[in-house]
């Protein structure tokens, strides 16, 4: 592997490594706007000019690939600094400097580099800036708004639609100082990944229709999570203010979603924000009573334990989760069924539209409505669709009957859970226990209602469509008295007095890892950031 020296630091890199990336690894930040590791190199913004030993002029780092030993690069240099200042000055000539009303403020490449590479005042005393009248807030489609006055013509967005989404809606129009980006008149930026152009826009030219003016970014707390939209399992960051999610952004994982996520995935938090949250446990006042009353967790858990204990036939109890549950929740649900003596433990997975993310290692596609079918299977649940599940449990028709208890864990079934047919079927069980975050129709008909934490409020793992085990963290504490499924399932298992001891997610994962060879030796807190490929890395080792 060739060696390169950057600001006196020598490191070995893979042949063909881009100089900007190599410098990053050496701890040297080379400022840039147009360069993006997944887009073609265009060398347009000229911010990344550096000094390279043996070359007469400054060179753009983004156009340099390290293929031979001995390249010597200087970034910390007066000449380089002067060039950077020069570029910043050029870029700011026409920039409106409207940071106070700009959504990008706080995460803006212009602000960041002005601070580092600019000067405190402008030498351009003329007030006339180039403007694009009428082009200050152009919707490019339903998700993205363009303010051309702020654009620095880096063309990342154009290259994204040409090279990543391969839809080509955006173009570079006119030339010279009048150059602008846009869509063809009458057409829209309309592809499943369209909001990614907002993520890669280094300035405030492209903003998200949904997020615009929702919150100043410096008020946002950010936590790593996994998208629940489908089984691709895009790595995301949940950005919230005091528990109110403002947006989901893609988090880099070259094996799953690279730098991207789909527009649909970005909306998945809205159901938590918009749906009525269930915040207290509830139980029926008495058997057969029509009245649901608020209660304590202890009483609710006791009621569930009573009903389980009273079941005449353990096989007439069923434990059903959606594919939104974590692997750890699925594992505990399977153990609960096992402890009770029921073989009916299922994960319900509905198919949705296929969602695809192009990555550097190929396209990752998923079509499950939930993120964790594979994790649930791994944990010992059996997969079926909603209809298959209802039929198998004898709930499909009025005469099927005979189920004494149905335990539904996070029944997030793509809307099916609120349909009357499903409600009727579920109600055919003598006792209906529902652990859910949604105070919806299903909660109204249940005998015991347990308020559940959402994915954003809990910790655990999902296994994506490709078999990659990935960890997510809680972004904020659960609403009200809601609890993560792991906590309430442990309560039930402890309550059964079968020797189960209280513990946390970490301990549950450790137990799972002990029992499952695919996970052998793994611990939750030490999972690598990119997750673990159970299929090829671990499957073959078996």
């Amino acid at each position: 592997m060739p060696k390169v020296t950057i600001d006196g630091r020598t490191l070995e890199v893979e042949s063909g490594t881009n100089l900007i990336d190599a410098a990053n690894r050496a701890g040297v930040q080379i400022p840039h706007y147009c360069y993006h590791p997944r887009l073609s190199v265009v060398g347009q913004c000229r911010m990344c000019l550096v000094k390279i030993e043996g070359m007469p002029k400054l060179q753009t780092a983004c156009t340099m690939q390290i293929t031979k030993d001995g390249m010597e690069v200087t970034v910390d240099d007066p000449e380089v600094q002067e060039a950077q200042e020069g570029m910043m000055e050029f870029l700011l000539i026409n920039h409106p400097l409207d940071c106070p009303i700009c959504d990008q403020a706080g995460e803006c490449g212009l602000q960041d580099y002005s601070f580092k590479h600019g000067q405190a005042f402008s030498r351009f005393r003329y007030s006339e800036k180039r403007t694009y009248p009428g082009r200050e807030r152009i919707p490019l489609g339903s998700n993205v708004v363009l303010n051309m006055n702020r654009c620095i013509q880096c063309t990342r967005c154009i290259r994204f639609t040409e090279e990543i989404s391969e839809t080509g809606e955006l173009g570079f129009f006119q030339r010279g100082a009048r150059t602008e980006i846009g869509v063809f008149p009458g057409k829209e930026l309309d592809n499943p990944l369209s909001t990614c152009v907002v993520d890669i826009c280094p300035v405030g030219a492209l903003t998200s229709t949904r997020f615009r003016f929702a919150e100043r970014v410096w008020y946002l707390d950010k936590k790593p999570s996994i998208c629940t939209g489908c089984d691709v399992g895009c790595n995301i960051t949940v950005e919230h203010r005091r528990g109110a999610i403002k947006r989901l952004k893609p988090r880099f994982n070259e094996w799953v979603n690279d730098y991207w996520m789909c527009d649909y995935g970005r909306t998945t938090f809205e159901r938590w924000e918009e749906g009525e949250r269930l915040v207290t446990p509830r139980i029926r006042r008495s058997n057969g009573s029509s009245e649901l009353v608020a209660t304590t967790w202890a009483k609710a858990v006791r009621r569930v334990l009573d009903r389980l204990g009273n079941a005449a036939d353990p096989e007439a109890t069923a434990f059903v989760a959606s594919a939104d549950v974590s692997t750890e929740e699925a594992f505990l649900l399977a153990r609960l069924a096992q402890a009770v003596g029921s073989s009916k433990r299922r994960v319900v997975v509905e198919s949705g539209p296929e969602r695809s993310i192009p990555t550097v290692h190929g396209v990752v596609s998923g079509s499950d409505e939930g993120p964790n079918r594979r994790g649930a299977l791994l944990a010992g649940l059996e997969a079926s669709t909603t209809d298959e599940m209802l039929a198998a449990l004898g709930l499909g028709d009025p005469d099927g009957g005979g189920l004494e208890l149905l335990f539904l864990l996070d029944p997030d079934l793509g809307g099916r859970e609120s349909e009357s047919a499903f409600l009727e079927a579920a109600r055919r069980a003598d006792t209906l226990v529902v652990a859910t975050w949604l105070d919806g129709p299903l909660a109204e008909i249940a005998d015991v209602v347990l308020p559940l934490a959402t994915t954003a409020e809990k910790e655990g793992t999902f296994v994506n469509v490709g078999g990659r085990l990935q960890r997510f963290e809680p972004a904020f504490p659960p609403a009200g008295q809601a609890r993560p499924g792991v906590d309430l399932l442990i309560d039930l298992l402890v309550g059964l007095e079968i020797g189960w001891r209280a513990g946390d997610v970490e301990a549950v994962f450790a137990q799972l890892a002990k029992e499952n060879r695919l996970l052998a030796g793994l611990s939750l807190s030490d999972l690598p950031a990119a997750g673990v490929d159970l299929e090829t890395e671990r499957g073959e080792a078996e």
Binding site: F90, F172, G176, A177
Partner: protein, 432 residues
Amino acid sequence: MAFEPILTRNIRHPEVLSVDGYRATGGYQALAKAYEMEPGEVIDQVKASGLRGRGGAGFPAGVKWGFIPKETGKPVYLVANADESEPGTFKDRLLMEKDPHQLIEGCAICCYAVGAHVTYIYIRGEYAEAARILEEAIADAYAAGILGEDSLGSGYRQEVYVHRGAGAYICGEETGMLESLEGKRGQPRVKPPFPALVGAFDCPTVINNVETLCNVPHIIQRGAEWYASIGTDERNTGPKLYCMSGHVERPGTYELPIGTTFSGLLETAGGMWRDGELKAFIPGGASAAILSAEHADIPMDFDNLAEAGSMLGSAAVIVMDQTTCLVKATARLAKFFAHESCGQCTPCREGTRWAEMTLYRIAEGQGTMADIDLLDRMMKNMSGTALCALADACVGPVASLVKNFRHELEACVEQNGSPYPERRYFSAEGAD
């Protein structure tokens, strides 16, 4: 000593527009001779001649041809740069309109030398007449068996196509031209890779200016030694077409040995127009630094002009007399560069427009002394930092204005506008 024109020898003989007429002057003999040689020998001859590119950069043509890799399994292309758009330049148009077969022959020899079978003559869209004449000449050459599957019975395939541009100066830049040929915006590419390796349609490509290619038949026909004997020295050889324009008595294209002095050129072109007094001249097109009258005796070749801080460029000599406001003249050139900037890279997109605005401000009396220093500083920021040479082209005249004619800028600031009254060429001078 009278110089016998070489490239322009036929321009007053319309009969050379036909293959037969061109052949009667010895045309296409050089191509036949080239086919008798090994391709490598042809390249060697061109190298030995010292021929340097006539488009502006002055890169040795033979060396360029030598960069074409052999046996890559990909086709090799020749793109003849007929996008002549450098203000003040009109020589290539003359060559194409008056002696198209000379260009076709040069292209064919080049193709043979580098292993190409296809030439695209990329001609600026405005040159409709030249394109028409070329198309006719090409058709004639196909009919005569000079082009086609079996060129002159050599077994070598030669195809020549005219590709018309659509109005963009930047397409004269090699890689902007390639982009345009491929049907895209003419935005120059990042280099390396250079066109010799990755050019038109991702294939090895030679790009030569029309005048450069027109020299080739003569080099092959009369020998490198003969060719190299013309000019200043071994680095500046051959005949050169100088385009004289502006305040000269007889504007036009003048073919002279490279290195002829400016004053010699001016004399050939009949001296100053209407008995004006020489104030300044631009020796190599709008991108070249403006030189003052003191430089009148400079030999007009690559190296002498470079030494004087300017360049031979396209040898478009724009002459200005004492009535010319150099601030306004330079502002007009900056306006041109701002208009023609492709817009993709920061220093050029922003810098050219900024230079245009500032110069007009100063010319109109709105400028300050600080603006002059800022102008200087901005030119430094644009210099050598852009993706292609267009930003540097703008720096050429503007930086020279600040450096060589600062007093004119200062006068505009001090007198609240240009001290030169607007010249009326027709009504006031009664020349209409």
